[in-house]
Amino acid sequence: MSERARSLARPATLALIVGAGLWAWAAVALWQSTELPSLDLPHLDPHSFFSDSFLHRSATYERFLAILGLLGLVTVIAVLVVYARHGHRLVRESAAGRVGTGMLLAMLGFAVVWLAEVPFGLVALWWQRRYDVSHQGYLPHLLNSFLGLGSQFVFLCLGIGIAMGLAGVMRRWWWLAVVPAFVALAALFSFVSPYLIPDTSSIDNPALVAEARALERIEGAPHARLREQEVHRFTDAPNAEALGLGPTSTVVLWDTLLRDGFSREEIRLVLAHEVGHLAHHDPLKRLGWLALFLLPAWGLVALFTRRRGGFAQPEAVPVAILVLVAFQLLATPLLNVTIRRQEAAADWAALQATHEPATEKAVMRKLATKSLSDPDPPFWAYAFYENHPTIMQRIEMAQAWEDQRP
């Protein structure tokens, strides 16, 4: 028997091959669970919808942020490479035992990343203020960011505690056990997330609530709570989101959408889009994608941390952080593809529910204008940063819906 055949015959290798097959099957099934009609989107000229000055202004605005983001990512990776090489020395700053020390090293890794990102965050804020997209002050921005680090550390410690605990108990295949644990944790977080959003209140507009109920019936969505979030102190950009699981399903509309020049039909269309997410069980599907992406991520962590004694050892944590962050960066374009598909399906559902393509186009124009979004960004920025279809793609979808109407 040749060396290659012997290698294939090993149970571990066989298990990996079978696992990869199952992974691919699950990914295809999950992809197909989001139904989207095969549309031939018409190519529309952005200049027909936006002025030359806006297109130039939004392109300049977004290009700067995209380049700044890339520079920030390069810096973060560089910092994490240095941390992966030398971070294990910080073990001496802990009296917390194996798992506690791992938690400390993980927190310090993200603290160092936070420090490295501070200048980029400040420059980005300066740029947003310059274009009147954000009103946040520099000090509140820094303070919020620093305090946010504290809550981030709580979840980080929980995650590291679970992973290191399992790595300590299970020798080789611990990373397979980590995934369901993390997905369960993410599900719990997703379940309670509507209650964690700050500055929200119930919507007391009976007409809007009645429209939401009607849309739920049309789109076949579960009953959802309707909340308004106060954000106008920080930004003018309008937005909405659907979150929560089962009984906590919630649609959150930003006050910038409700009080800032959007007509009743336009708000209804945004609402229909969010109800579409709930009807398609998108929060649950995102957990499925998370599970699929976590598997190779933790598998790579298990592989790369072997030289440091495995992930059960705190000295391996800096390496693991580098692997996880690098994997996340590489997987982001793929993850964006899956989310963009869900967004497109929600757009389509909104058009089917409201039958108002003209309103969809008007909403997209307003969204772009208020958020200063480039309607047709360059491909690299689209692939890396956009988890929604571009504004022009969404307008083109509305046009396609209009064209295929009998």
Binding site: E93, A95, A96, L108, L147, V154, L156, C157
Partner: protein
Amino acid sequence: MATLFEGKSPAPLHDFLARFVRYATQVCAYLNLAAEPLPAFDGKPGYPVDVEIEPPVAQNRWTVAFRAVLALPALVLAAVLVGSGNFVFDSVRSSGRLGFAVLGLAAVFGWFYAMFKARMDRGLRDLIAYALSYAAQTWVYLLLVTDIYPDSDPLTAIGPLPTRSDPVRMEVTDELRRSRLTVFFRLALAFPHLVWLTLWGVVALFAAIFNWVVVLIAGVSPQWLHRFLSRYVRYQLHVSAFLYLVGNPFPGFVGAPGTYPIELHVAGPERPNRWAVFFRLVLAVPALLLASAFGSALLVVAVLGWFAALFTGQMPLGLRNLGAFALRYIAQTYAYALLVTSAYPYSGPCLEQ
């Protein structure tokens, strides 16, 4: 001006200011019950609670020029220890801003103690003396009598200290070195511990109520319950030591004994007086109030220590020891309130056996 030009305080001025500080200290010691006899009006040495002031020496002109600014940290610390004017009433007046000043509370509790026992409690007396000592050091520094920066170390401030072996005692093996990285992010790093401490605290509260009932009936705390509550108190100490920079390393999450350089030793369960157990919460109120005053001091220690450790990579010994002193009192208070021990918290600085 004279010190700035001559490089040292002129002798008559130095003598005048030294007498003033000495007299103020004596009056405050008398008023706050740290000493019995009425002090003389001339500020001469020899009072039972007194300050020793060295003769004038050459001072660094730069520190003289910026003395008011340099004295600010010491003034803040003095404010939480003695209030703004060294009187009992300041404690009440300042309560709206900084919480109770340590000195004022100690004096009030000392007054009640002395009324019943016809003598002052040693711990309270030493605590008042320590607070006055720090205030006196701050004033002589501010008034240019000396250029020695006030030392907040409670172990060196007031003559010989008692050596104690309390059922709940603290051991400090901390090396003063601080990691600048963990110092900078100290608050954020402590966040997971604070969340865990809060969750554990809820369980500990119910456990303490259960313990209260059990001790009232059986006369002694069950071993497992005593161990659980001891661990909680120890964990609380570890987390506070880390958060307030009294200790350097990141603590563990289970309050295990022997794992942290600021360690709490807790004796096994004892048979307490049932009446004292029944009224434990009421009896603990004075200690809890004093613990909250120590908490204010601890906060100032942390803020000053944060800057010092960030620049020098070391925690100043005096601040560390003051922090440890405050933590020891707070831990003893929690242990007393949660029925881990029947020994009342000792409020004065002391040496551990």
